[in-house]
């Protein structure tokens, strides 16, 4: 495995001390009444991870810190778009960080909208079984990622965490482009299979 890869596997990772339910509640409180305390909690939970993410995407520590601040400010401003039925708070914040990276680090247009920002209504209260399904999906995605063969996990992580395109991954690993693509395709099918019976 490449020495550049240090994404912790689920067993040894630093866990988010605050549960997904709590995170979703914080977002809700921000959206509904501009709850500054909820924002502070969310910042403490996510800013350090966003900073790590930005550094892995090639930002220096200062820039990464600025982008972490900006990501969380965007969370504050756009909390009304967050729809609890469709995704976890982490997924939503990941997409904000991803789009900000494209905009700031690559200085490109961000073509993908934030999830639920365009064809969904802003969030209503979540039903308990939706929360359960969300938790179940999260566990399955993590398990499917952890179960991937090392060579497949590697290309997926290089794509998401280091922000490398297919051909950049091929260059980094010294592999033919087709091999990179087929490893990603295999990984995708395994992850999809593990979610097959979930709605």
């Amino acid at each position: 495995m490449s020495p550049h890869l240090t994404v912790a596997r689920p067993d040894g990772r630093a866990r988010n001390p605050l549960g997904p339910k709590l995170m979703a509640d914080f977002l809700q409180r921000i959206a509904e009444r501009g709850d500054v305390e909820a924002f502070r909690k969310l910042f403490q939970a996510y800013a350090p991870r966003v900073k790590s993410y930005m550094m892995r995407q090639g930002a220096d520590a200062n820039t990464a810190e600025e982008l972490a601040q900006e990501t969380l400010l965007t969370v504050w401003r756009k909390a009304g778009l967050y729809s609890g039925e469709k995704g976890s708070a982490t997924t939503w914040i990941f997409t904000i960080a991803r789009n900000l990276r494209i905009d700031r680090l690559r200085r490109e247009l961000t073509w993908l909208p934030l999830p639920d920002g365009h064809d969904e209504e802003p969030s209503a209260d979540k039903l308990p079984d939706e929360l359960l399904a969300e938790q179940e999906r999260k566990v399955r995605v993590q398990a499917a990622l952890a179960a991937l063969p090392a060579d497949q996990h590697e290309v997926v992580a290089l794509s998401y965490i280091e922000g490398l395109s297919h051909s950049e991954i091929a260059g980094r690993l010294g592999l033919p482009l087709g091999t990179v693509k087929s490893r990603m395709r295999l990984a995708y099918h395994k992850i999809r299979e593990s979610l097959e019976d979930l709605k």
Binding site: V7, A8, P10, A14, N16, I30, A31, G34, V36, F39, R40, F43, P48, K51, E65, Q69, L72, L73, W76, R77, K78, A79, G80, G87, S88, T90, T91, F94, T95, A97, R98, R101, I102, R106, R107, L109, T110, W111, L112, P113, P115, G117, H118, V141, Q142, L145, V156, A157, S159, Y160, I161, S165, H166, L177, K181, R185, Y188, H189, I191, R192
Partner: protein
């Protein structure tokens, strides 16, 4: 609109990671805006990104949370919902080409073939353009030195790999050679991203290639 050709999974994955060259991300985002099935896939893949993001070892943040205005009205209002098109241009493309395909400032390439180049950010090495082919006309047979993703925006075309209708995507690898033929009645308008120059096969096509800028 019944979409039968979708992007390859590895393209969706790279797209959800935000790791695609801009030209390709543009075609993917436009297809996704037209295709509920790929929207669902994308949302699953965003959870994959989130799971990897979640497993990063946190780096301590030096500065505290930004001091934000205490007025609730500042929070949660979100962005203005993206414009919806009154014309035939998918929402993702509205900021770059306007609402109507007919209003695009087309440049004639050859008999029956028109194009419009879409500007990308500085430093992007990809190429993004609209191609309009009149009913019954064909693009010269070509191969690719890199990848190519084509999305049909209006009408349809066929080549050796099948028939592509509005909303369909042809996600081609380097080794594919094809000679797309536009529908005899409607013609075809496509959005095409490439990361390498197209390679035309015949001598005549190679001769005109510099004029096309393809």
């Amino acid at each position: 609109m019944k979409i039968t050709h979708h992007p390859e999974p590895e393209s969706l994955m790279s797209c959800s990671a935000g790791s695609m060259p801009e030209a390709f991300a543009a075609v993917m985002a436009t297809h996704i805006s037209m295709c509920p099935c790929c929207r669902k896939d994308l949302s699953i893949l965003e959870h994959v990104g989130a799971a990897l993001f979640d497993s990063l070892v946190p780096t301590s943040v030096v500065r505290p949370a930004p001091v934000i205005g205490l007025r609730a009205s500042e929070a949660g209002t979100g962005e203005v919902t993206p414009a919806t098109s009154r014309g035939d241009v998918p929402s993702a493309l509205l900021p770059v080409i306007g609402e109507f395909l007919n209003d695009v400032p087309w440049t004639r390439l050859s008999p029956g073939v028109w194009q419009h180049q879409i500007a990308l950010s500085d430093g992007d090495r990809g190429d993004l353009r609209l191609i309009k082919v009149s009913p019954g006309y064909a693009l010269p047979e070509h191969g690719h030195s890199g990848s190519e993703i084509t999305l049909v925006l209006r009408g349809s075309y066929r080549d050796a790999t099948g028939v592509y209708r509005t909303g369909d995507v042809a996600d081609l690898s380097e080794e594919v050679e094809h000679a797309p033929l536009a529908d005899a009645v409607e013609g075809c308008i496509c959005l095409i991203a490439t990361d390498g120059k197209l390679k035309f096969k015949s001598r005549i096509a190679r001769f005109v290639q510099p004029l096309f800028g393809l």
